[in-house]
């Protein structure tokens, strides 16, 4: 009797999630924790902040700075163009079927990142690429003579924008759908012009969603490795490529610096994702 009661009082309910907890701890939390801890440990195993300080070397600072600029630029451009497309789809008075096409296409292209994207890009804007040849033969414009280079800041930005725009469309379209017709009508009947409605109501209402998605796009670009590697080899020194090379063969000459590098990346993507979560919560609270 007592033993069966004891048996029953054990937290059996917790047992149902044990496989998941085991999986998450072993293959997600523990590896990450190992990296974070490694960033604060020296070769002898003692606590130190030296690894973090060592990050402030020109080659690492430059890599992070390039990564941040690249991610921010591609996120801002992706946000702007994606927002325009979403607005056109929702308010543009376009055929209804077009909306489904745009959304499906966005779903595909936002997942069409990585290596194949780089190939498509080379085939288009490479030295013998489709557009390069088109411009040269039909319009007499030589892109490469004009200083264009795929393996450059703007070259890589253009490639990143390719998956940033559809991601923006996918995330922001539901938010724009959340703008209620009555808000526009209420503003109108109170004397507001279309511009005043957008400035005073619609854009402020969308602001958290826009800002949050910008943060998400930033993190999305910051962690991306494959496109850059396939496009540039290891020529362009951005933070994830630096880490990639470090993992392959300790190029920094200090194993613990790799941990610090990874830790810094987590901090940056963590902060931008935090912004996204906070902003999304705010937008949802409003749109209820």
């Amino acid at each position: 009797m007592t033993s069966s009661r004891l048996w029953r009082s054990l937290p059996w309910n917790g047992l149902g999630v044990l496989p998941f907890v085991l999986f998450a701890v072993l293959f997600l939390l523990l590896p990450t924790a190992h990296i974070v801890a490694g960033a604060f440990v020296d070769a002898a195993g003692g606590f130190t902040l030296k690894n973090i300080f060592n990050l402030f070397r020109p080659e690492i600072i430059n890599a992070f700075w390039l990564s941040i600029r690249l991610s921010l630029t591609s996120a801002v451009i992706g946000c702007g163009i994606g927002f325009a497309i979403a607005l056109a789809v929702v308010f543009g008075g376009l055929p209804r079927a077009l909306r489904g096409v745009v959304m499906t296409f966005s779903g595909v292209t936002s997942n069409f990142a990585g290596v194949p994207l780089a190939f498509a890009y080379v085939a288009t804007l490479g030295r013998v690429g489709f557009v390069t040849v088109l411009l040269r033969d039909w319009f007499g414009v030589n892109l490469y003579a004009l200083g264009f280079n795929m393996i450059s800041f703007w070259g890589l930005t253009a490639a990143y924008v390719f998956f940033q725009i559809p991601l923006m469309v996918l995330i922001i379209t539901p938010a724009i759908d959340g703008l209620r017709r009555e808000w526009r009508e209420a503003a109108e009947v109170l004397g507001a012009s279309n511009a005043q409605y957008w400035r005073l109501v619609a854009l402020p209402v969308l602001a958290p969603s826009l800002l949050g998605t910008l943060a998400l796009l930033f993190a999305n670009a910051f962690g991306a490795v494959a496109t850059a590697i396939a496009l540039t080899g290891s020529l362009l020194s951005i933070a994830p490529i630096l880490l990639f090379n470090q993992i392959r063969g300790d190029v920094l000459g200090d194993p613990h610096l790799g941990y610090a590098l990874a830790f810094a990346m987590i901090v940056i993507t963590g902060v931008s994702n935090g912004v996204y979560v906070v902003m999304r919560a705010r937008a949802e609270r409003w749109l209820k």
């Binding site: 209420a186 109108e188 009947v189 109170l190 507001a192 005073l200 402020p204 602001a207 409003w286 749109l287």
Partner: protein, 349 residues
């Protein structure tokens, strides 16, 4: 000409004729309800007055000025929507002051007017709250204040109570009417709830299929419905079949019992005529021009009123009895006599 004048309004979307030759004149300070089932065109009429829809034909005038083709933001109209439609990014005070800010009033004046409006709706402390922090009833009162703050010429209410709980709905009815009287603002109220329309309005417009079936004071519309639709839609109704014996004298028989209606009948002798009877006009005790034997089929105790379904030879009659604490209600299955007066019968065409 009336202050707000709608003349020969038409609206069609392609082949779909939503509003048909709609005429209505509303005096300054009057509270008029558009009552009808969904799809009857009442909301379309309201949206044409607001300027969200352009009439296919006809004219709208406010205070003698034709506004038919003015944009909504040039009409100086206040509107309250079914689902509050408060701007979620603005505080209560900013919402109420929105129209004033657009109009370019100095901020001191805006603050004063907003404070007045919040006082008027009984939420003086709520100015710095956000809409999502308010209950539905509070939000709708703020929406009313927002619509009234720029002192519009006309107030339009589009089913403002239908998203609210039953209790708040009833208390807000009185509050809206009270504020409307205090400000003396010309008001159109759209609803599908006949109780709301009857209890709040100076006049009710009963609409069906894009037309106004009847326009009149609540008492008139309820007691003297002009058409079968109005009689059916406004309040509960019993239908009785009568056979005309002498049309000129208004003489008919109901189940063989002779009866003289107060007015002449537009039918030939021998024709079957449908007469309508309100539940509250039927009695179980006392006198009447006629007495039909019946049996009680169902009783609904509703508090102050007991609704009875009584079966008689030709169908079921609903009647309302007042609850009297010292008299127990009749029992189901009991045989009774239904009595009523000829003057309470409404002849429907």
């Amino acid at each position: 000409m009336a202050y707000l004048d709608l003349s020969a309004l038409e609206k069609s979307y392609g082949a779909n004729h939503v509003v048909k030759s709609f005429d209505l004149g509303i005096e300054q300070g009057e509270f008029v309800s558009l009552l009808g089932p969904s799809g009857c065109g009442k909301t379309t009429v309201l949206r044409m007055v607001a300027g969200f829809e352009t009439p296919s034909a006809g004219a709208i005038r406010i205070g003698g000025q034709e506004v038919t083709h003015l944009r909504p933001n040039q009409r100086n109209i206040g509107m309250v929507f079914q689902a509050y439609a408060l701007f979620p990014n603005l505080t209560v005070a900013q919402n109420v002051g929105f129209g004033l800010k657009i109009a370019g009033l100095p901020s001191r004046e805006i603050a004063l007017r907003v404070a007045d409006m919040l006082e008027l709706i009984g939420l003086p402390e709520m100015g710095s709250r956000y809409p999502f922090q308010l209950s539905g009833g509070q939000q709708q009162r703020v929406a009313l204040a927002r619509a009234l703050a720029p002192r519009p010429r006309v107030l339009l209410l589009d089913e403002p109570l239908s998203a609210l709980d039953a209790k708040i709905r009833v208390s807000l009815r009185a509050e809206i009417r009270d504020i409307q009287r205090k400000l003396g603002i010309t008001t159109i109220f759209v609803t599908h709830d006949q109780e709301e329309a009857l209890s709040m309005s100076d006049r009710v417009v009963v609409m069906n299929g894009g037309r106004a079936e009847q326009v009149g004071a609540p008492f008139e519309v309820y007691n003297q419905p002009k058409t079968r639709f109005v009689a059916n839609f406004v309040g509960t109704l019993n239908a009785l079949e009568a056979i005309v014996t002498d049309p000129g004298a208004g003489k008919v028989t109901i189940q063989g019992q002779p009866l003289r209606l107060p007015q002449a009948v537009q039918a030939q002798a021998g024709a079957v005529l449908t007469l309508a009877l309100r539940p509250e006009a039927v009695h179980l005790h006392g006198d009447g021009d006629i007495s039909l034997p019946a049996r009680i089929a169902e009783l609904q105790f509703m508090g102050s009123v007991i609704r009875v379904n009584a079966e008689h030879a030709m169908g079921v009659i609903k009647l309302d009895l007042f609850n009297k604490p010292d008299t127990p209600p009749p029992a189901v299955g009991e045989d009774i006599a239904l009595r009523f007066w000829a003057k309470d019968l409404i002849a429907l065409d």
